[in-house]
Amino acid sequence: MTEFQAASKMRELMTEYYIEAKTTKEKPIAWVTSGAPVEFLYTMDVLPIYPENHSAMCGAAHKSLELIEAAEAVGFSPDICSYARTDFGADMTKGGPIQGLPAPDMLLCSTNICKTVIKWYEVVARNYNVPLFIVDTPFMHDGLTRDLIDYTTTQFKNLEEFLTGFTGRSFDLDRFEEVLKFSLEAANYWKKILQLGKTKPSPFNSQDTFIHLAPIVTLRGTQKCADYYKILYEEIRDLAAKKVGSIPKEKYRTLWDNLPIWFKLRRLAEFFEDKKCALVVATYTNSWGGLGDDYDPKNPYEGLAKAYLSVYINSGFEHRINYLASLIDEYSLTGFILHSDRSCKPYSIGMYRMQEEVTRLTGKPGVIIEGDMCDPRVYSDAQTETRLEAFIESMEDSE
């Protein structure tokens, strides 16, 4: 894995963020899903906290299993998303690297990532007896339609009213504009960073971007977040200009689809490096880069609605297939890896068909590996590595 100079800055940011979350007296705390429109919260000085990000952190710290087991012990099914199980377990036991999250004063849940989050947040709402606001973003079967945009925009207005009632303060449009500006700035830098993966050799590995995703998930809408991605962008841009690759001898260039396997990040990074295979683009990290694409300063609500509707896993099958094929082309990839994540059904469904179609469109080999982002019990090193190695051999054979 690449150790960027900016990494220490990121660790500082994240530490500060969690310290503030744990100690704040004045700011109300909202637990939110990763695809929620947090710009509204930052505008109202409500501090957003992300159980998903926290679960990922527990997974990367090899702490998720004990939390998952705690959740299952009280009756949560092993078929539920492991982010949710990790979160329930952390909340019950106050375990994990930061001993659980601070209690929420409200909840904001958006269904653009999946429908699991509705039930998950309902459980939390019951546990803490706090209000829950659900943004219902319909699935984009056939692209972005006027109905979808209007339906979502209306809910953003409702959210605004809800927050005004909840905080007892009025919604400050100037402040909203400023928050949006920071949010877009961060997203645009993030996007520029990810596009540097087109450089040969790639200056970063997707494994690196999984880690550097933390601020844009949690701090999107703040100045420090925008500033951070500017620094990171400049560092990576210079590496790209000097043709410094993230792995010493890049021979294969691949795409990673779906969530990372947090508890295997390091082992897989070493595995890929050894095989001269760089992961240069990931649909997961790309999801946070597109926020600026639809922004319209004259109509910020609609722009946000479009952005939050258009996230990758909220879009139809055809679109995903074409998107993957276009990434393979744009990033000059030699193959693609589909992680069938046992937890994340909306992300994993239809993968066999997807593999077939993408290969048909691009002529590039693909592989499906089975895993999970936080539950190590459903992952096998030997099985996965044999599949990945055979995939790399097939890229070699197709040279």
Partner: protein, 259 residues
């Protein structure tokens, strides 16, 4: 005369094949992998050497494959089973298009190019149902020798279906079928069909070419081969000793210079 060797340490058996400079098979060995996979690889290699009356110094190159490919000390290089089975099957059947390898823990379907190199492959999911280990457990439950499962199944007269795909559940299903007085050939047949059905899905995923070859230990089970062939609507070729094809492919890769 120099030799080349391939060592395939799989989840159940450790196989070694010795070939000469023109790829003639000189000798081979099939041993159980057991708990010490490193030792099993070495033992298989030594046994093959002994049979050929050769010494380790006569061997110019060794390539390892199989689950424990990284733990074979004698090998200068390693390749996955996918590439090795492809190469080995190509040796016997140069017109091969699709290969189905069912071993102890994994089943794989491999699609190859006209030159025998891998085009695409599919493997079973995490669950070992439908693999050789599944057959062994069911042979145990039926109290029949593994080698006889195929023959037994072909004597079946009444068709029964096994519904579960899980090894553990199927074992108890078999036990209850026995207690219901069902005949062992009918049960064996249901077990073999369950494997054939699962595997046919893998094969259709990569595509069934004109020439289909089956390798790995389960190819010795004639009932599985027959049922799979019926299911795919296609003849399936089986090499003389299907269990050594991975090791043979590794030996050929060693002869070609290791990659």
């Amino acid at each position: 005369m120099s030799y080349f060797a391939g060592i395939d340490v799989g989840s159940l058996t450790a196989d070694a094949v010795l070939i000469d400079e023109t790829s003639n098979i000189i000798s081979y060995a099939i041993l159980p992998t057991g708990h010490d996979s490193q030792k099993a690889g070495t033992m298989a290699f030594r046994t093959a050497l002994e049979q050929a009356g050769a010494l380790e110094v006569d061997v110019a190159g060794v390539v390892s494959t199989g689950y424990s490919r990284g733990r074979v000390e004698e090998a200068g290089n390693s390749k996955t089973e996918i590439s090795c089975h492809a190469r080995g099957a190509f040796y016997y059947f140069p017109e091969v298009g699709t290969i189905i390898d069912i071993g102890g823990q994994d089943s794989k379907a491999i699609r190859v190019r006209p030159d025998g190199r891998v085009l695409d492959f599919a493997m079973n999911d995490k669950c070992a149902a439908g693999t050789g280990r599944f057959l062994e457990v069911m042979a145990g439950a039926l109290n029949a020798p593994l080698e006889m499962m195929g023959k037994l199944a072909l004597e079946s007269t009444v068709e029964i279906t096994i519904s579960s795909t899980c090894t553990v559940f199927t074992e108890s299903e078999v036990v209850s079928l026995i207690s219901q007085g069902r005949k062992p050939p009918d049960i064996a047949s249901a077990i073999c069909r369950a494997i054939a059905n699962r595997t046919s899905g893998l094969a259709t995923r990569v595509g069934v070419a004109d020439t289909v070859v089956m390798t790995g230990g389960v190819a010795k089970n004639r009932a599985v081969v027959k049922m799979l062939s019926e299911k795919l609507g296609h003849i399936i070729m089986v090499p003389e000793e299907p269990q050594i094809i991975g090791a043979l492919g590794a030996a050929i890769i060693a002869r070609e210079g290791g990659s």
